[in-house]
Amino acid sequence: MNEYVIEMKNIVKTFGEVQAVKHGEFTLRRGEIHSLIGENGAGKSTMMKLLYGMYPINSGSIVINGENITKLDPKIAISHGVGMVHQEFMLVSDLTVLENVILGFEPKKGIGIDYEKAKRDAQQYIDQYNMEIQLDKKVSQISVGEAQRVEIIKTLMRGVEIIILDEPTAVLTPQETRKLFEILGNLKAEGKSLVFISHKLNEVMEISDRITVMRQGEYMGTVDKDKTTPLDLTKRMIGREVFLNIDKTYSKIGSTILEVKDAWIPSPKETSKIRGISLHVNEGEIVGVAGIDGNGQSELVEAITGLRRVEKGNILLNGKDITNMSPRKIRDTGLAHIPEDRNTRGLNRGISIENNLIAVQIDESSFNKGIVLDTVAQDKYAAQLVKDFDIRPTDYKTLTSSLSGGNAQKVVVAREVSMKKKLLIASQPTRGVDIGAIEAIRNTLEKAKKDGAGVLLISAELEEIISLSDRIIVMHEGKITGELPAGEANENNLGLLMMGGMTDTSEAGKGAVTL
């Protein structure tokens, strides 16, 4: 019998022009917890989705239990004993928990579904792993932690021996994370083999037997947990000290440009609702907002930029109350905004680079001649920006949908930064872009600050936050859990705050508690 239950060799996967996995390797032993780590965009999730048959591989081989698998889809993967708990839960919110659990593997009675048997079976697993799940509730009514347990039960009900967990802790509170780890421990004790995808080193060091590192679609090696250190792993994961070399300048801090006063902001997700937040940004400084994705950062940005309504409290820009004003008026008051999602929001992919560059200035008299758009002035402006920001291809009539991630993001940055507004909000400005573009974009932010703008930088990358910010605010479940000068910040104390540490963790985040 083979030592490994899973062997993935020389995996390549591209989506269109994008190489998500350039060279992937992965093995899994029976009864181990194997962590797969890497930064956002390193290809970890893609690797595991390939294993689960969500997409076909371009080349390489996948061997499950010694059998070389050529054709793979989720159904076949499950029949080979592979189950996956996705980062975005694969639960239908209008169906009940029980219906979700049995979906695809429904026990039958005559032509109907045998709900009684389904319930008995599910309850058996729930009891065995001590999981707290309410089977009759609709998924839309349960908490994130419970939804995740539902996902685990779902895989167990299908009789799988191998469970892939894709960033399971990203959405969990510390207590829920503890609970999850207990469950994972139980599963391991039962002889299940687990894959744990994460980019959090402390968790990985706590729970793994072995660790595989990926970086930018490449396999960076596999190590035993006992034979490695967090520092070693970090080097393998990041491996680009170059970014820390940005010359951080301390420019003169000017007057307050943005002030958020006790703002209450709605969200479809409970953990992202903001119940009273206050912060300020001054001219000439970069304020970094750190936090795990989905803890209210996006909602905060949308509220400031006029894209989400504020239910209570005030937002002042340049001394003027802009609460619940239209995005247009807020921009006119002095805002530039690099949004977190360039594909749906930042760019109109169906039109040219040029049209995207002038999108926010379409009503300006400098781009109009009477009622007609002044194409000559637009061409000139676009040519200048394409040159200044080194956007490729240089033909500004090219459709933005054909640009690489880095160049697409440069278009957004060029448009927003070149207007020299007093406040610049940059949300995940370097997510999913190549190394060269990351450096260029970071330098641009640094320059905006030097020119006197106040910058609010939201990023899930701690290293980015630390290397750019003057002051760092940490958010957790819609609240600020701490604020500290960049000089005092490090991965450890920020990480702790991001997990909701330092404040009263037992009750924090529950209910409407004003800070």
């Binding site: 979906l103 779902k154 409407a512």
Partner: protein, 317 residues
Amino acid sequence: MDLFGNLGKIFNASLIYATFRASTPIIFAALCAAITQQANILNIGTEGIMLVGAFTAVAVSYTTGSWILGVLAAMMGGACIAMIMAVGHIKYNSEICAIGMGINLFAIAITKFLMNVIFHTNGTFSDPGIIAIPRVHIPFLDNIPVLDTLLNNWCFTEWFVIIFIIVLQYIFYKTVWGLRLRAVGQFPMAAQAAGINVNAMKYQAMLISGLIGGLAGAHLSLGYSTQFVENMTNSRGFMGVAAMYFGGANPVLTAVGCLLFGFADSVGARLQAYGFPAQFVLLMPYLVTVLVLAVSMAIKLNAAKKRESSLIVHGTR
């Protein structure tokens, strides 16, 4: 003539059957739309599927002398048309409204063309040779006054539609297929992750929708009437789609929406006899549907807003 003096003649027991009779073609159409809606496909082509069914039913019933063959052929015809739509939408990414409208126009044109070619006539084809779907005569009701009016001599397919509503309700909410269909419609990625072949489910839904749409047409041309008229569906397919919206693709609620149309239709016909402008009654169901759509969406949005609010603390978390 005093309109109000005649209210008793307008609103009497026979109105109930008249309402139901006028509703049945729409109910079939609405169920045709409901099944694809469960898979998140808006079946704008219902009208066309139904029209092809109506023509096929008449043509086959006339040539073979069998209404059963007519109905079966109509269902096959409806399924063929639905599959054109399914392939276009699922395989070739056709915008569903665009191809649905194309199907509707195609149905009008091709039935007109075939009527010209096969029956050498324009406008209407009626002939004693068309064998209608039989009516169910219940002898012992003959002498019971109200029940006789209400229940006797229903067309076979009118009884069938009641059973069919219940069967579909059961299929949607109690069977494996129904559960998978709803999952595919609401969150295809989740369905795929659960090992369900999403496209296969969509094709199946479209196929069955075509069969039902064909039946709807057959009922219209062999049950509701016994003839084929150019564009005889006359927006009944669209009404079905609207009723399906009204009922949120739930078969029972959808049927209730259809009864509303049928009611306005039969009241309108009676009012017209008394000199009341029929147009106003006839347009009521359309206006009501627009209102209902607007109000139900407003309620939905408001509920979502409440759920998202940061000011309200929810019990579960």
